[in-house]
């Protein structure tokens, strides 16, 4: 593991993206979003995923010149077509538009069809919070998990983000409907470590903490067992219906995670008359969480998103941690 200065990371990303025909301004924003994700400690969805995005560009699955287009408007809800463009740029534009709608209608919602992987889901929740909005957003994915009671993949893991602005935070929940992502299972399997809790079934249908066996069976556990697959199905139907885009079933037929559907909802807190009271109440709730009696001595209880700023400060000061092989791969792109 080495550390690379934030600006070096951004600059390198920009060079690669411009070499693939992306406009300078777009390459700047796209690169910044990816580097910022690593800066905030979400390494799996930042620099580590950059080469994956570039491969999708090289394979013609991402159109670096495409811009999202408004296809229909229904007051506080708008439908946009992502035109197979760059996932994080489309998501950025959609969040910005949802915030504008929220400033006009208190609630704003953009349903985006035919877009690509948005990299880190939390990015767009944080954008909403910075504009003093609650952010609620999710995406669908390829079929990655069996429906409850089945063995063949039928539902996505459909990451859901809930973000609530506050001076201590924001509170940021960024949760896929599978307990562990395939990326995480691969890491555990590679390192020969047991999962902290059972993460899926082996090929005989027994719950196991052996990530390798789950990768073989392709039966990762949904969150809350029977509850997670139901939630994932509902999220998929809502996002595909509202955007007019692909369902997880349709993505499965195509077999590649492109042309996905995403939803961006913002609710403006600035519109509410008791904004100060709200801040105080959120603060009190978060303080209460942190005052929990700890299950393990010395391990303090935190609210989701609490460590983000601290990690970012350290990484901006010391450089962004990155695996040397990952960095070398990016330099070679």
């Amino acid at each position: 593991m080495m550390r690379v200065p934030f600006e070096t990371l951004v600059h390198q990303f920009e060079q690669v993206l411009q070499s693939r025909g992306m406009h300078e301004e777009d390459a700047k924003l796209c690169s910044h979003l990816v580097a910022e994700t690593s800066a905030e400690g979400v390494y799996t969805h930042g620099a580590n995923r950059f080469a994956f995005m570039v491969r999708m560009i090289d394979d013609g699955l991402i159109d670096v010149r495409a811009k999202p287009e408004l296809t229909a408007s229904f007051g506080a809800l708008e439908r946009w077509d992502g035109k197979q463009g760059v996932g994080n740029l489309n998501a950025y534009a959609s969040t910005k538009r949802a915030i504008e709608l929220a400033k006009q209608y208190t609630i704003g919602c953009v349903a985006l069809a035919h877009t690509n992987h948005w990299m880190r889901p939390g990015t767009y929740g944080l954008m909403a919070a910075e504009a003093d909005c609650i952010g609620m957003l999710w995406t669908n994915t390829l079929p990655l998990m069996p429906a409850w009671g089945g063995v063949d993949a039928k539902v996505g893991n459909n990451p859901l983000v809930l973000c609530i602005p506050c001076k201590d935070g924001p509170v940021l929940v960024d949760a896929a409907m599978s307990l562990f992502s395939y990326g995480k299972l691969e890491t555990y399997a590679r390192e020969g470590r047991s999962l902290p809790v059972p993460g899926g079934y082996d090929s005989e249908g027994n719950l196991t903490t052996d990530a390798g066996k789950i990768l073989a069976s392709k039966r990762p556990l949904p969150i809350g067992f029977w509850k997670g697959t139901s939630l994932a199905l509902a999220l998929d139907l809502i996002v595909s219906v509202l955007s007019g885009g692909n369902t997880t079933r349709q993505l499965g037929l195509m077999g590649k995670e492109t042309s996905v559907s995403q939803l961006f909802m913002a609710i403006s807190l600035s519109s509410l008359p008791d904004r100060d009271r709200i801040e105080a109440e959120i603060h009190a709730s978060l303080e209460d969480i942190q005052k929990s009696e700890a299950a393990d001595a010395g391990v303090s209880v935190r609210f989701p998103g609490q460590m983000r700023r601290k990690i970012k400060e350290e990484n901006l000061r010391e450089g962004i941690p990155i695996d040397e092989r990952v960095w070398q791969e990016i330099l070679n792109l």
Copy 2:
């Protein structure tokens, strides 16, 4: 277990509620909602919970004459005060209003403060679906689970409903953020049965399938371990902020599950230009789920909400199943 005709159940509920001073029309609707919940097979939240509601009336926690009042309006979002009224009547009125707002703005949202237990969450999702709206709604509760890494109860289980209209369904997801409710844990403990999967920690901090030990430790598992408590916290903050009502922390200070906060969001599908295509896509997704290869031979895979109509038809024909002691208790109210 005995079976009581639907109309007998409704009539008995009406008598009891009117004896507590509830107006005739309100008693009729309230009774119908409770009986319908049992008719649809959700016995825990229907007749089985009726005596609990009546005790709350007798204890002065529910005001049977109160009507919800609009306290602020922000376009597609409205704030209502439940005035400590009857939970299911308040939720019914709020859903109705959210649907009206959705018909006007495509998205409609009612945030309700100071209301009481809404009995069966799914009721209001189904109402939205009947009006051709997607329903998204949730409530907060008393602190029932520790935050992740803690041992003392800090977050609610905050049931979340997602409902999507379709001719096969609707698809109805009605999921608390705890894996098992306290009610379910009590049932398992009473019957001396093991939970099908670990449902919480024992007092030594080990995961266990022994419901009695979880009841003793008060450490039930959230869905998805660390994910469920984060989701529950976010749902609590959103609903309390938007309604201007109590947070789970505040409910905990009061120590009684009354004056809770609820959110009712409806999104009108009738507003969308491709309503027929949407119906076909949802149908295709649900059919795909049902074509899953089954993990256990002979156990077919279903979508959430699939069995509802069939159960209801049978129960309306044969009578509503009810524990004899529960029925006797209701007759004595």
